[in-house]
Symmetry: C2
Subunit: 442 residues, 2 copies
Amino acid sequence: MPDLANTDKPLRIGLAGLGTVGGGLVELLEKNATLIRRRTGRNIELVCVLVRNLNKPRSVELPDGCLVTANPADLVDNPDIDVVVELMGGIDAARSLIEGALRNGKHVVTANKALLAEEGIDLLKLAKEKNRILRYEAAVAGAVPIIEALRVPLAGQRLLSVQGILNGTSNYILSEMSTSGLDFDTALKQAQELGYAEADPTLDIDGQDAAHKLTLLIRLAFGVNYPYTVLPVQGIRGMDARDIAMAREFGYRIKLLAEVKRVNLDEGDDGPIRLAAGVYPVLVHHTYLLARVGGVYNAVRVESESAGSLFFHGRGAGSLPTASVVLGDLLAVARDARPNNTGFADENIPRASIVPPDECLTKYYVRVMVPDTPGVLRDLAGCMAREGISMEQVIQRSNDGGHIVPLVFMTHEASSLAMKTALQHAMDTGLLHKPAVCYRVL
Amino acid sequence: MPDLANTDKPLRIGLAGLGTVGGGLVELLEKNATLIRRRTGRNIELVCVLVRNLNKPRSVELPDGCLVTANPADLVDNPDIDVVVELMGGIDAARSLIEGALRNGKHVVTANKALLAEEGIDLLKLAKEKNRILRYEAAVAGAVPIIEALRVPLAGQRLLSVQGILNGTSNYILSEMSTSGLDFDTALKQAQELGYAEADPTLDIDGQDAAHKLTLLIRLAFGVNYPYTVLPVQGIRGMDARDIAMAREFGYRIKLLAEVKRVNLDEGDDGPIRLAAGVYPVLVHHTYLLARVGGVYNAVRVESESAGSLFFHGRGAGSLPTASVVLGDLLAVARDARPNNTGFADENIPRASIVPPDECLTKYYVRVMVPDTPGVLRDLAGCMAREGISMEQVIQRSNDGGHIVPLVFMTHEASSLAMKTALQHAMDTGLLHKPAVCYRVL
């Protein structure tokens, strides 16, 4: 195995995918070449680029001698390549490319959160087995270096929680709804026009993208596997502008939050690590730094037993921001920085001990549509009290003469199950005109 | 040289200094032992502790078999020690300890910003020569992992600027003055009573501590040496509560900021890296994240060409927060993570090309005490205009009947020299009752 750090030979890379991020990387390799040499003592050379369609016109200029191919074997089996950079996305082709590269003794840098959430544990094991570096800083929170932070400087911290605004598209939509008063569909359309949302925005606005990223953060923070398939996930699709306005009146902003909390920190670390986690819209008080995260920015808040709270904030997406993070990974490979790929010594990551989502405690914001008649608030408070839920603040408002009015309240802490039961009961007894809108409060 | 990463032997440490942070580290080594094993596959063993006074009573309990000594040779020459952790502070004894440890093939972890600002380059060279790890995450910004961030994930970024609130004591005093309306002396006394300020607070409130830290950040961010002895430094001693209140009226908070800006980014990286830097109180608009940094918190904002702005926020000091960062460094040593100690391939760090402080451009906040007579504002504006400085906003206020009133204004961008000249001229012509108070505006 070559000693990467003590060489001045170029680090030779094969790049899979020449889209927004791949194109940005090619640009940065050229533009930042002097810096790269100063940082590592070496050049980084782009040897080969894998694309899906050889005939598609490209705006990016490749260096002389760089091979363009549609055949993955030209990367995987190429003895002139030290590192494969996977920026093609998707699952199957990306997995087989990464596996092949690791098996052939190449290091890998990827930004593929979906793949890492799904198959990451196997890939990390394979990398360990082959003693190869597998880096993926760009997979979570864009330019915010949260993966390196959790893996290295925060590795000695016993962590209480990690909370992130991890999906720039959702945050852009919520920010626009909040500051410009747009409705959901208009904000989504605007995001699509600006290139912040895909034509099919499902993964973003339904919370799956944030769930993939949360699964990666949970592994790095706690060394356990909480499969994203069992994470409770609620997205922002169809968010009502009224709730965003109401939340503002209470002093809150609504954010799509991915969070994990350790509930048994006082039990020590010899037994299971017990976690409550999920992705959902949350009301965040305007005095919190998380509430100040606007537009396509991402942020992560980490709460540690010894160091208190840490907050990281930066661009969540975009060609050059993401490409520059990939470049950071490449520099680390060039310098042969080898902390454990997982951040833990044993790559056999056990499954998390999971607090059933129904049992998770939180404060709630609830908006119901009710008839404008006396006694409604009393009856609704009765439904809540039956489940042990007490109200903290109530806004009742007559609308302009209609019979059905919104009633908004915030509760003290309650379990998800108690809230569901209380609202179901209110619905069953005919108190609610339609199902309640209900969000957590941070 | 032993392969640190591929061993399950304990990492044996010698600790110099058993004060607040040293005591916190001993506590964490015990409390986080399981996590340490999970992260590294090894134990960390405290073999020997160096103290100044063997007879001083200690509240911290040392592990069985740990030697307590007052003789540095028991650490430096001890073949049973892999890493020396220097938490004793000061310059001479700390330098000779660290040098001795590196010469004897030991890795070093330190939190000593004063030493690193003064002698860091030589120590980093020595570490390189001996192929040893020298880590110092706790030296800057407390729990905020900005050193690792600049050295690894951000290493590929061409940086525009780094701005930090790096001194918790000053930030606590300014925060208390701003939120509780305290005057400077009362806020300082309160900080001392709470243990946030030393009996002799000079290094903190006069800006030298922040200057030490800025010198380290400049090296990591740009790979050049800007000696702290030539940094322009202005502290917060004697800050007038009136200015904090006035700044609030304009929508600003006053913060002690350490900042460096690259002024020739567009010239590429082959020539000199030209920097404008300094430590000074600055008015920060309340909508900026830096304005939201309260109490003893620290924060760093990094602006990169490709990734835009990044913001990091966390506790700036304290026993366990700082100790937990030292522990993070120890874990990195235990896993043999070896990026370059400096973040650059060549440890021969050249001197920065420095923009003379007088030429640095910024907006200014100015408060002058002037006679309450007609024409004063006109004459003052004349002094400014002579130097090409234009005023952006003015607040003039009659006080309760006195003849001398404060006049406050903010300017458009001007050089430091132009501002000094204009104010000197105003003073010389008898316009000002006493010297102006003048702060930069971010």
